[in-house]
């Protein structure tokens, strides 16, 4: 099963995605962490996510960039969190965002379940600098490709899951 989870900030996407993984087998659960820790705020965010996932049987793989080479065994149940950070890291930290979609495709083909978390950054009506606009365009394209690959795409709205594609899994 391939699932894409989207929604606004602070709306319970991670919590829902983790609950979904808990309905799947316990073995070979891998959490792919993409966030760069650069200040107290991001430290706290990572800390909060860690606490949330404790005792859920995840092995954590740090992957700020280059998803294709992340050490993930075939047959794993992968929770990839998230495409927003991964894209930003590839784009603004000397990587290449064009390698994200092929890496996701490869991962989807060889793991037993893939749950991807992304974020809806696209509805604030603001005009940003060209590099941020390019980032948004690029992330939107990745989200669209990921949704196309997914059996099921879900928007989490203040903790309420809304199916955008496919049938809503029971969590």
């Amino acid at each position: 099963m391939i699932v894409l989870v989207t929604g606004g900030s602070g709306c319970g996407k991670s919590t829902w995605a983790e609950k979904l993984v808990q309905t799947l087998p316990m073995e070979k659960r891998v959490y792919v962490a993409t966030m760069q820790v650069y200040d107290r705020e991001s430290e706290l965010r990572v800390e909060r996510h860690r606490k949330q996932r404790a005792d859920k049987g995840f092995r954590t793989v740090e992957c700020e960039k280059d998803l294709a080479n992340a050490p993930i065994e075939d047959g794993s149940i992968v929770l990839l969190e998230d495409l927003v950070n991964l894209t930003a890291n590839e784009m603004f930290d000397g990587g290449d965002p064009a390698r994200i979609v092929p890496a996701i495709r490869n991962l989807a083909a060889r793991c037993s379940h893939l749950v991807m978390v992304t974020n809806d950054l696209f509805s604030d009506g603001m005009e940003y600098s060209p590099s941020v606009q390019e980032y948004l365009r690029c992330l939107a394209e990745i989200n669209r490709q990921a949704a196309e690959m997914a059996d099921c795409a879900v928007e989490v709205v203040y903790s309420v899951p809304v199916a955008l594609k496919g049938e809503l899994p029971c969590v």
Binding site: G7, G8, S9, G10, C11, G12, T15, E41, D120, L121, F122, S123, D124, M126, Y128, V132, L136, V157, Y158, S159, V160, V162
Partner: protein
């Protein structure tokens, strides 16, 4: 408890008042959260839980505020985060959540 949400000016308040003529309304609840958390130092979730205990029959109306680029100012980020966390609690407790777009309500819970 009922929750009506939507982007800015999407008609969630009008719809809430139409559908619940006798309701105890709490409009602009995202602003209530802003004041509680950013001004009065409350923790978003516990504030929302306390609110639910005190107003179990409330009709809560709020904006969705998380669907944009992460703001540069720490206070703006904290506001979005707080509104999200608090409204997840409210939505969890509500027997009904309605999302309004262009004045059209979609019952999502």
């Amino acid at each position: 408890m009922k929750l009506y949400i939507g982007g800015a000016y999407q008609g969630q308040e009008e719809l809430a008042r139409q559908e619940n003529p006798e309701g105890a309304f709490f409009p602009d609840f995202h602003e209530t959260v802003r004041e509680a958390v950013l001004k009065n130092g409350r923790e978003a979730r516990s504030f929302a839980e306390e609110f639910c205990r005190e107003h179990p029959e409330a009709v809560v109306i709020a904006n969705e505020v998380g669907a944009g680029v992460v703001p540069l100012a720490a206070e703006d980020r904290a506001f979005r985060e707080a509104a999200g966390r608090a409204l997840c609690v409210i939505a969890g407790r509500a027997e009904q959540v309605t999302r309004c777009v262009c004045g059209i309500g979609v019952r999502i819970k």
